[in-house]
């Protein structure tokens, strides 16, 4: 009954839920923007990838803490 490992699992799950929602909304807006103005698709695609990497960076903060917890 190792509470640290339990907490690590729950923490990782919550972090992934947050990332999934955030990047999902981002992708939806990007699709809509490309649909409205196909000429801007290059700019939209670059900005989308940068924003996705930033959101994932925040998620991986939480994941690193979960790794530390799981090792205890």
């Amino acid at each position: 009954m190792n509470l640290a490992v339990f907490a690590a699992g729950i923490g990782a799950a919550l972090a992934v839920i947050g990332a999934g929602l955030g990047i999902g909304k981002l992708a939806a807006s990007a699709m809509e923007a490309i649909g409205r103005q196909p000429e801007a698709s290059g700019d939209v695609r670059t900005t989308m990838i940068i924003a996705a990497a930033l959101i994932e960076g925040v998620t991986l903060f939480a994941l690193v803490i979960c790794f530390i917890l799981a090792g205890k």
Binding site: I50, A53, G57, L60, F61, L63, G71
Partner: protein, 274 residues
């Protein structure tokens, strides 16, 4: 087909035999540093510095040597042909992309003076990330000490270039946005100082966690072979291969993100009017 399955079963067997002593943390064992040549720690007062060469530091040296060889070959080929062709053309394409779409939009035309720093950052992080995908080699940027070193270099560059362009005092004064009510100023000072520190910290953790998480996922998927029995081998290896291909994309992306965020932060420090 049978030769392939024989190969897979044999490698799984050897992995199981070598890993049986450390079943609990063989994943962590493949991720962390191991000393190759151990030197005694150097004592400076109460601060001990351990400079032994670990496998990741060895990979750093290999990455540096590889970069020197490859990029000087590209430079020599570009110097010989006025119109670049072949490998020199490829390297020049990457450099022109970095100059026109990463550095100049973030830092303005004056950013061209600092292009060598960004080129070094991008190519070094890219090589370090890609080295980790070759079997039996390690990812240098998968170690938080190395990414922390890169982030500290970026932090020093941000402060140094900000102070150089705005004056030593003017830079720190310029951190506060103009026209704030008096009561808000202490809060803004704390927020701006913390912002200065968290931005490179985020760079460090983002790069480290992206690289390490990818390798942990691949190792965990291969470890499924041991938990679910040898029948899970084809599915497990297919998934691990897919994640490995995704890893290539993530290596490129993380090198690009580190570079563009460094350029953005240095641009924000140099042109403080925004």
């Amino acid at each position: 087909m049978t030769l392939l399955t024989e190969l897979i079963y044999n490698s799984a067997d050897t992995l199981a035999q070598t890993g049986s002593g450390k079943e609990d943390n063989w994943i962590i064992h493949h991720i962390i540093d191991h000393d190759l040549f151990k030197f005694a720690p150097i004592q400076i007062g109460s601060f001990s510095l351990d400079l032994s060469i670990t496998n990741k530091v060895f990979m750093l040296i290999i990455a540096a040597v590889l970069l020197i060889i490859i990029l000087s070959l590209a430079a020599r080929s570009n110097r010989k042909n006025r119109i670049p062709k072949g490998f020199g053309n490829f390297v020049e394409m990457i450099m022109v992309f970095l100059r026109d779409d990463v550095v100049i939009p973030s830092m303005g035309k004056a950013g061209e003076r600092y292009l060598p720093f960004f080129f070094t950052l991008f190519f070094f992080i890219l090589t370090c990330n890609l080295l980790g995908l070759i079997p039996f080699l390690q990812t240098p940027t998968g170690s938080i000490s190395i990414t922390a070193g890169l982030a500290i270099i970026t932090f020093v560059m941000i402060q140094a270039l900000g102070m150089k362009n705005n004056g030593v005092f003017g830079y720190w004064k310029g951190l506060l946005p103009p026209g704030m009510p008096i009561l808000v100023i202490p809060v803004m000072v704390i927020v701006e100082f913390l912002g200065l520190l968290t931005k490179p910290f985020a760079l460090c953790i983002r790069l480290f966690a992206n690289m390490t998480a990818g390798h942990i996922v691949v190792l965990a998927l291969i470890g499924l072979i041991f938990t679910l029995g040898y029948g899970a081998t084809p599915v497990s290896i297919a998934f691990a291969l897919f994640i490995d291909l995704l890893e290539i994309l993530i290596s490129l992306l993380q090198a690009y993100i580190f570079t563009i965020l460094s350029a953005l932060f240095i641009g924000m420090a140099v042109h403080q009017e925004h």
